[in-house]
């Protein structure tokens, strides 16, 4: 059974004349334990798909299913225990006035955990931040450190599916390597399923097993990474993208 099924997804913003179709007829499946990439340029709709899955984009049609069960229009709390998201901009995804401890503590509290202190300590260790970062505020953290906190927050409810929206595009190259390694390790250790969005084919090629190439809201091709590396893509746009990245 697939972890995530998306069938004929349409997402739009605005009404009538001002309506913009960000995603048109997207269909793909993500298997349990797989790492699936969504690649495209800006405006291709890849991030919008993630927002639709998490309920942050209200106007959508089509079918989405998690573990075989259709995803309801109003996401119940249990949904967020299974599906979590890491956002792109580490400078915008943490509340400027909340310390790391507050961010993680609040998340754990919302999901009903009781042993919050112990879990906060463990989460910080799991993402490679020590205890000395626990009471810092975001402005006292570097970009890579903030992204680790964001990952810790996403891991707090012990999810099974992690949605990653360009998690390293705002980071320096050397920091990117650390975060990508962290994400690979976490996936292997916890058996997580990843749906990763990126504009960078080499990142997707490194992190993912299969990927979908998007252009102007549509998925133009789905291929596995081995074919990508062998430059065996079929759609002309994918070829174009490949050539531009090399």
């Amino acid at each position: 059974m697939n972890k995530l099924n998306v069938h004929d997804l349409n997402v739009w913003f605005g009404k009538h004349r001002d309506r913009v179709d960000a995603v048109k007829g997207a269909s793909f499946d993500v298997a349990q334990g797989e790492s699936f990439g969504l690649v495209g340029e800006s405006g291709s709709g890849k991030s919008t798909i993630l927002r639709a899955i998490t309920g942050l984009a209200p106007d959508w049609s089509g079918a989405m299913a998690l573990d075989g069960n259709p995803i309801p229009k109003a996401r119940p709390k249990a949904f967020f225990k299974t599906v979590q998201m890491v956002f792109q901009d580490p400078y915008a995804s943490l509340h400027p006035r909340h310390s790391v401890d507050q961010v993680l503590g609040e998340t754990l509290h919302l999901h009903g955990f009781k042993d919050i202190d112990a879990r906060v300590v463990k989460l910080l260790d799991d993402v490679g931040l020590g205890q000395k970062f626990r009471f810092r505020y975001p402005h006292q953290l570097s970009g890579g450190q903030r992204q680790r906190v964001a990952i810790a927050r996403a891991l707090a409810p012990e999810p099974e599916l992690l949605l990653l929206d360009e998690p390293t595009s705002a980071l320096d190259v050397s920091v990117q390597a650390e975060i990508l390694n962290l994400l690979s390790d976490l996936r292997r250790d916890r058996g997580l399923t990843y749906l990763m969005v990126s504009h960078d084919l080499s990142v997707v090629g490194h992190m993912c097993d299969r990927l979908a190439v998007m252009k102007d809201g549509e998925i133009v091709e789905i291929l596995d990474v081995a074919s990508l590396r062998a430059m065996k893509s079929t759609h002309p746009y994918s070829k174009q993208l490949l050539e531009a990245s090399l």
Binding site: E41, G143, A177, L180, R229, A244
Partner: protein, 286 residues
């Protein structure tokens, strides 16, 4: 022997703050001929500060010091501000990262280009308009009249950047400093913009300083590369020999990039050696 357009010796840029003095650029020296010189580094390496220091765009409390910054023999640090204004734009131009922020949003593109042109050349508005159209065509903009009437927000990123390049090249400068000109653009558009810059720089025999964090892009596009770390130059090499670089920081950067060709399980993580920021800056002089 390439003619030296720019000669910088021992450049320091310091920022005094409440917690002491922060040195953004420490003892950087290099020369620029009629070539494409890349300056690569991560955030905090001082690469953008170097570019701005050359144009003396760093305001107090920042302090810029150097033995000299010679533009064809003339020391820019000694010039009074009035003379420096004549240099900026006329002899050395700068293209920055995001055209959304470097183009004036409330003026039409035509007005901005014409204004820029007439700042450096006393010509009639009609002549300036004609020259602007010429420049827009030179950067492969197909409908220049329409673009002249449009506002910056109506342009896509790639077009905006091409307009910036057109604007910056109108006064025929000798040197162009490009600070992350393609970082805000999509991959397919990047190539286009770079090709245009390349052609213009070659045709006019200009010197180009290309500042970027993207090692591969710079290696592809430039002739020579300076790699900066913590305000110093740690390595200098020819672009085509970048993959034979020797300094551990450069090697570290190259190895930590995810690549499509050989698949790797884990990316090599850069271990920063404090030695790198202590060591003397490598000279980028030819």
């Amino acid at each position: 022997m390439m003619e030296k357009l720019l000669d910088i010796e021992n450049l320091w840029v310091r920022f005094p703050s409440r917690n002491g003095v922060f040195d953004a650029v420490r003892g950087v020296s290099f020369t620029l001929g009629r070539e494409r010189l890349g300056i690569v580094g991560e955030s905090g390496s001082g690469k953008s500060m170097t570019g701005r220091a050359i144009l003396r765009l760093i305001r107090s409390p920042g302090i810029v010091e150097a033995d000299h910054i010679n533009l064809e023999g003339q020391d820019l640090l000694q010039l009074p501000e009035k003379k420096m204004r004549e240099v900026r734009g006329q002899r050395i131009s700068m293209v920055m990262q995001d055209p959304k922020f470097s183009l004036n949003p409330v003026m039409t593109i035509g007005d901005q280009i014409i204004e820029a042109y007439r700042l450096h050349n006393s010509v009639s508005k009609a002549d300036a308009y004609a020259k602007s159209l010429e420049m827009l065509e030179a950067v492969s903009i197909r409908n220049p009249e329409r673009v002249m009437r449009a506002y910056p927000h109506e342009m896509s990123g790639g077009m905006g950047q091409r307009i910036m390049i057109a604007m910056m090249l109108i006064p025929n400068p000798e040197i162009l400093i490009a600070d992350e000109p393609t970082s805000a653009l999509d991959v397919s558009v990047q190539r286009q913009v770079l090709d245009i810059m390349d052609k213009l720089v070659k045709d006019r025999g200009m010197g180009l300083i290309f500042i970027s964090h993207d090692l591969n892009l710079v290696a592809d596009f430039c002739d020579r590369v300076l790699i900066m770390y913590a305000g110093r130059i740690v390595e200098v090499c020819d672009a085509d020999k970048l993959h034979e670089a020797t300094h551990p920081y450069t090697r570290g950067l190259l190895n930590s990039l995810p690549r499509l060709d050989p698949p790797r399980d884990r990316l090599d993580v850069l271990k920063r050696d404090p030695e790198w920021s202590e060591a003397e800056s490598v000279s980028g002089r030819i």
